[in-house]
């Protein structure tokens, strides 16, 4: 087997530079690559374009990069939980490209799957469609959307093996599998790194071919954004 293991997050992020386009997995704070984000802050890389469904909160997730003004442009579907984001966006410091969530997911998959463009009905007749080619199929209007391009993709998995195979847990899966496909270089941080042969080939969510570097993550906070519970009756 091909071994994708690197020793730590420092080694994993070799080659990340100012001005690059990065994809970051996660939905809200669920399934985000915590170790990689912390290291991006330490590296002080700037002028980043970040493709991520959300933008974190003020003191966690991508909010940490926003606070240090490392992000030039966000490409997201929903960014509503972050005061610093709002300030930078309203002041014009931060460019924001808002994209329907399904289109965001499909543009990631398309990037990984060698599909340069596809038609989707999402956003037809709205400002999302402005400047885009439209076409009718089966009596319904669609718009043409293009695959993303990303220099690096950062994903977070539950378990991974040294060959780069990944298994996600619960809704921490979300955007991670498509972004893993889409990065020119994909870096996976995992809660548990195991030897090849320990994961069932039938149960792997992301085959190792999509992952260039994998490492054992540490100190996961896994913060809950909206703790909702019910009482035992």
């Amino acid at each position: 087997m091909i071994n994708k293991t690197v020793n730590n997050v420092q080694e994993a992020l070799t080659g990340v530079k100012d001005g690059m386009t990065l994809m970051l997995g996660g939905f809200g704070l669920c399934g985000i690559p915590e170790n990689c984000i912390t290291e991006l802050v330490k590296l002080e890389v700037k002028n980043l374009t970040c493709i991520s469904n959300n933008a974190g909160v003020d003191d966690f997730g991508l909010g940490l990069l926003l606070k240090k003004k490392q992000i030039k442009k966000m490409i997201s579907s929903y960014v509503g939980e972050n005061d610093e984001f709002e300030r930078q966006m309203l002041s014009g410091e931060l460019q924001v490209d808002l994209i329907p969530q399904g289109t965001l997911a499909e543009r990631c998959r398309a990037a990984g799957a060698g599909i340069p463009a596809f038609f989707t009905p999402a956003g037809y007749g709205t400002e999302v469609a402005e400047g885009k080619e439209t076409r009718e199929f089966n009596g319904k209007m669609h718009i043409l959307e293009h695959a993303f391009q990303a220099d690096f993709a950062f994903v977070k998995a539950w378990k991974g093996d040294t060959a780069g195979n990944l298994i996600f847990k619960g809704t921490a899966r979300n955007f991670n599998p498509m972004m893993a496909m889409a990065g020119k270089i994909t870096i996976a941080e995992v809660e548990e790194l195991v030897k090849v042969g320990e994961l069932d080939p039938n149960e792997i969510h992301t085959p190792g071919i999509f992952v260039q570097r994998i490492f054992q993550g540490k100190d996961y906070e896994k913060r809950i954004e909206q703790r909702t519970v019910r009482q035992k009756s």
């Binding site: 939905f27 809200g28 704070l29 669920c30 399934g31 469904n53 997201s76 579907s77 929903y78 960014v79 509503g80 939980e81 709002e86 966006m89 309203l90 924001v96 808002l98 329907p100 969530q101 399904g102 289109t103 965001l104 997911a105 499909e106 990631c108 998959r109 989707t120 009905p121 999402a122 956003g123 037809y124 007749g125 709205t126 400002e127 999302v128 539950w158 996600f168 847990k169 619960g170 809704t171 921490a172 899966r173 979300n174 955007f175 991670n176 599998p177 498509m178 969510h205 896994k222 913060r223 809950i224 954004e225 909206q226 703790r227 909702t228 519970v229 019910r230 009482q231 035992k232």
Partner: protein, 218 residues
């Protein structure tokens, strides 16, 4: 008397049919899950990657790796499944979800909906709403009939940036149930104690009133 949010949710719950997969938006729509009619089997889809979503967890049983599209901790029912965002929107775009319920700021008489952006204010983004409204065969909007100033939100034409065009099938407000037809909003039911006149007064878009309009029954 006009319905409260729970009343709107209860009325929408009456629309549910056995065997439907349903996606509920944030706000009033979420409440619909609490009033599923007896004997009806429904599965809730959450666009971040769940089918068969259950209620909130008991205190102490929250799992950071198990949230809904509103980022709230949830549970899974027996028979649930988990998937990635691409497959989740394949379900939505491919019309495998039978009903979408979502809130709106404005709805127009041709079925356009605006619910994601107010120019001049912070824009949080459309999330999955544009995919949902562009694809769903059956969309019910849950909303207040008028805004805080008393101005109608049931319009001839939306004034806010659109989320989707000609997609809304039915609107359930605090005052009425309206069906979107090619000729305008057809009044189907009144909230208990609300008169047709009150509804006419609160509606800017074309309203079609045929015969006696029954009161909602709960």
């Amino acid at each position: 008397m006009a319905l409260d949010k729970i009343g709107i949710a209860k009325r929408i719950a009456q629309e549910l049919q056995d065997g439907w997969y349903v996606n509920l938006g944030i706000g009033i729509p979420t409440l619909v899950a609490n009033y599923i009619p007896k004997g009806i089997n429904i599965e809730f889809q959450s666009e971040n990657g769940i089918l068969g979503m259950g209620p909130f967890p008991f205190e102490g049983e929250e799992d950071a790796d198990l949230i809904n599209a509103g980022k709230q901790t949830v549970t899974l029912l027996d028979g649930a499944s988990i998937f990635d965002s691409s497959l989740s929107f394949a379900m939505i775009r491919g019309q495998h979800v039978q009903l979408t319920v979502l809130g709106a700021m404005e709805v127009s008489e041709n079925g356009d909906i605006a619910n994601w952006k107010i120019p001049g204010y912070m824009v949080k983004g459309m999330g999955g709403a544009m995919d949902l409204v562009a694809s769903a065969e059956n969309i019910i909007v849950a909303m207040m009939h008028t805004n805080k100033k008393g101005e109608s939100k049931i319009l001839k034409r939306c004034t806010l940036p659109l989320t989707g065009v000609q997609c809304v099938k039915k609107v359930v407000t605090d005052l009425a149930v309206l069906e979107v037809t090619k000729d305008g909003f057809k009044l189907i039911e009144r909230a208990p104690g609300v008169s047709v006149e009150e509804i006419i007064k609160a509606t800017e878009g074309k309203l079609i009133i045929e015969g006696e309009i029954p009161e909602m029954v709960f």
